[in-house]
């Protein structure tokens, strides 16, 4: 009897301990409101079950994401314990002390940055750039890519007409100029009794849209921010003849081949234009591709994807984010626990399977990865040639200056491409002078 009682007590104690860990915290993870965020909510249920911590999420729509989150960080707010912040914030996050430096934690938990794709570690985790000082774990690889109406591209009548008009085969464009040629072909064409347009591109003025769109043309032409990395010598790089040509190209694409009214369009508008059957091609982040492929009206066998086409070289605009622990959080231990859990290869594999873009080598180098989704191979190609915007602490000033100069030129027809880029150098020079870097 005594033994029975002892066994019962041990059982109760044992199960009680397993069911409720020593200390359960309420963690809040902040990110942008988009498809991958919903996948992360599902994925994080495993973490809740394993750790006993409760996860809450604060998702902000993209156009307000930077504004909202940077205000939160700058005010020392405690809303977020974990933040999946844009790659460009890493400089400010590190220098202003918003993000916890993760080196010691990575060392103690045997988390190696060598296990993640080098481009993502460089872009999402390190500050100063390329140094082994880590402020985030690569959470979501991303780049700007393209998708198109495969069913239209495969129509024999359109193929023949395109061949007759251009002498080329209608297919995924192999260069930026070919992309424009195809867009022109589709512009204002009647398909199935409906007028359609060439392409939907980013032209948004308020946050980062037109910069992300235009750099998708600038990078393939060989655009550089500086002549010598780290020297801020922009004259001749930012306004190089190649950069001018690329910007003229982007304006040309906007003028010739976009639907009417797309003067302030970004991710949402691009998706709308495509899903409503208005455009033959559209640019957007790879993060949206799983959702697009699953769309019952324009997905499946009606859609296909391609990497941002090269011109003088391969180049894609980098998206994606790393996950950081916020210094003002009162739940830093639990937050680090989440990062440790998230860095595990099996969690990363599940993350990819649910629609998140893992940057873990075990996922990306898996022999089956390329065929796991119709856009998986393109994602790997794109990530090999990504280029990012300035990641300086003053990135917001640099970005807004570029937004203004590009929108003035591309959408508002103000001045020339050369004048826009010259003015941009003046703006950026002023910023770097204020920063004491020039």
């Amino acid at each position: 009897m005594k033994l029975q009682r002892l066994a019962s007590a041990a059982l109760i104690l044992g199960t009680g301990y397993a069911a409720s860990p020593v200390m359960a915290d309420d963690l809040t993870l902040c990110w942008a409101a988009w498809d991958p965020a919903n996948a992360l909510v599902e994925l994080s249920k495993d973490f809740e079950a394993q750790s006993g911590h409760n996860m809450s999420f604060e998702f902000v729509p993209w156009p307000n994401f930077a504004d909202r989150m940077l205000n939160e960080l700058n005010s020392g707010g405690k809303l977020c314990d974990l933040l999946i912040g844009d790659s460009q914030w890493i400089g400010g996050g590190a220098e202003a002390g918003h993000y916890v430096k993760l080196n010691d934690f990575f060392d103690s938990e045997k988390i190696s940055m060598d296990d993640f794709a080098p481009a993502t570690v460089y872009a999402y985790s390190t500050w100063p750039k390329g140094t082994p000082n880590y402020y985030a774990l690569p959470a979501m690889g991303d780049a700007n890519g393209w998708f198109y109406r495969k069913d239209w591209f495969e129509r024999e009548d359109l193929k023949a007409e395109y061949k007759a008009a251009t002498g080329n085969e209608l297919g995924e464009p192999k260069s930026q100029k070919e992309l424009m040629e195809i867009a022109k072909f589709f512009q204002e064409r009647e398909i199935d009794g409906k007028k359609v347009y060439g392409a939907s591109i980013f032209t948004e003025r308020g946050s980062e849209g037109i910069t992300m769109g235009a750099t998708s043309a600038l990078y393939p032409w060989g655009f550089k921010y500086e002549n010598t990395p780290g020297k801020y010598d922009m004259e001749g790089a930012v306004n190089s003849p190649e950069a001018v040509e690329a910007l003229e190209f982007y304006k040309g694409l906007y003028d010739c081949c976009t639907p009417p009214g797309y003067t302030d369009s970004y991710m949402g508008e691009s998706l709308d234009a495509f899903k409503s059957g208005q455009v033959a091609m559209a640019m957007n982040w790879f993060a949206f591709f799983p959702g697009l492929y699953a769309d019952p009206d324009t997905g499946g066998d009606k859609i296909d994807f391609f990497v941002n086409p090269p011109q003088n070289q391969a180049g894609s605009t980098l998206g994606g984010q790393g996950i950081s622990v916020i210094r003002y959080s009162e739940n830093q231990d639990a937050s680090l626990e989440y990062i440790k859990w998230f860095a595990q290869p099996d969690v990363q594999a599940k993350w990819w399977s649910m629609g998140g873009y893992s940057a873990h080598n075990s996922v990306l180098n898996d022999p089956g990865f390329k065929d796991s989704q119709p856009f998986a191979g393109d994602f790997l190609v794109a990530m090999d040639a990504v280029q990012d915007f300035w990641q300086e602490p003053a990135y917001a000033e640099l970005l807004l200056a570029m937004q203004k100069r590009l929108h003035d030129y591309v959408v508002a027809d103000k001045g020339t491409a050369k004048e826009a880029l010259d003015a941009l150098i003046e703006d950026w020079t002023e910023v770097f002078e204020d920063e004491g870097k020039l």
Partner: protein, 315 residues
């Protein structure tokens, strides 16, 4: 003998307290009453203003609290006043301000004049007309972006219907030429009822006997309008212009929803740029200087205007 309640309270008050109360002058009592309000005003209005003036002479950035703050003298003011982009913002603001006021006064006064006539359904029409000003600017901005959509927008369709133009051939929000007018149209649609209500109050305050006397003197309707109606409504109208002028000088929400300041910077009003400088670029010192310039401008103009208004009222 029974004492009245006041006397009872007076007798019950301890002598020491009574002496203290007796020692307070009327002015002191007045200060006790207004003191808390003045303190509150100082805390939420005057102190931030002084602090902003102080910041405007520095290179302070609110997102870099650790960066040393340097006094830069008048450099921020100099940069703003020499910045051609700022002057373009001011031009856009002036265009918006002038034309919204012109249209709102003309249409608002006309509507008030019509509504002032006695006719069936008068109250219903008044209610319908004032509906737009009851909506949130964010909502108005949002649904007008749909109205202005070249492919599906009602506005483009109506214009196309009456002019024969292809509705998708023009972009109200995306065209450099049309966007400044697009925001004027929406603000006029939303705020004309406000001007109308103020004018209506003015019209209804004119006693009928003045018109009767004018009619006996055989004054024409036109003459009655110019010599009775307009002069007597003018103070009301000027008040409406003052309110709308101040409001539209700092217009932000409606225009941000409609154009975000675009295309390019065509509709980037001063307040939109100020917000970008202050809370997106975090140039706190620079934006403080900009805010002070705007404050002085609107305060100066409003003061001159109020003096003119007082003169009109004295006539």
């Amino acid at each position: 003998m029974s004492l009245d309640p006041v006397e009872q309270v007076a007798r019950a008050t301890p002598v020491t307290v009574a002496k203290k109360i007796r020692g307070l002058s009327d002015r002191a009592i007045a200060w006790i009453f207004v003191g808390p309000t003045i303190l509150l005003l100082l805390a939420i209005n005057i102190f931030p203003l002084i602090w902003t003036i102080n910041l405007s002479f520095t290179n302070y950035k609110a997102n870099r609290p650790n960066r040393p703050v340097e006094y830069v003298g008048l450099r921020n003011y100099e940069r703003i006043l020499n910045d051609s982009d700022i002057w373009l913002n001011m031009q856009a603001t002036a265009h918006f301000l002038v034309w919204t006021i012109v249209f709102q006064v003309l249409i608002g006064f006309t509507l008030a004049w019509l509504i002032n006539k006695k006719f069936k359904g008068n109250d219903l029409w008044t209610t319908i007309i004032v509906l737009p000003m009851m909506l949130s600017p964010a909502v108005v901005g949002n649904f007008w972006t749909f109205f202005y959509q070249p492919q599906i927008g009602l506005f483009n369709y109506v214009v196309g219907f009456f002019t024969g133009a292809d509705p998708s051939s023009f972009e109200m929000l995306g065209s450099v030429d049309l966007a400044p007018w697009a925001i004027v149209i929406v603000d006029t649609w939303m705020w004309t009822p406000f001007v109308m209500l103020i004018c209506l109050a003015g019209l209804r305050s004119i006693p009928n006997y003045i018109y009767e006397a004018a009619a006996i003197d055989r004054a024409s309707k036109w003459r009655q309008f110019w010599t009775i109606t307009l002069p007597m409504v003018l103070p009301f109208l000027m008040l409406a212009v003052l309110f709308r002028g101040i409001e539209n000088f700092k217009m932000f929400d409606l225009v941000v929803q409609l154009t975000g300041g675009g295309p390019g910077s065509t509709t980037e009003l001063a307040s939109i740029n100020l917000k970008r400088e202050a809370f997106e670029k975090w140039r706190t010192g620079y934006s403080s200087a900009f805010a002070i310039i705007l404050f002085v401008t609107v305060f100066g103009l409003a003061s001159i205007y109020v003096k003119a208004l007082n003169k009109v009222k004295e006539r």
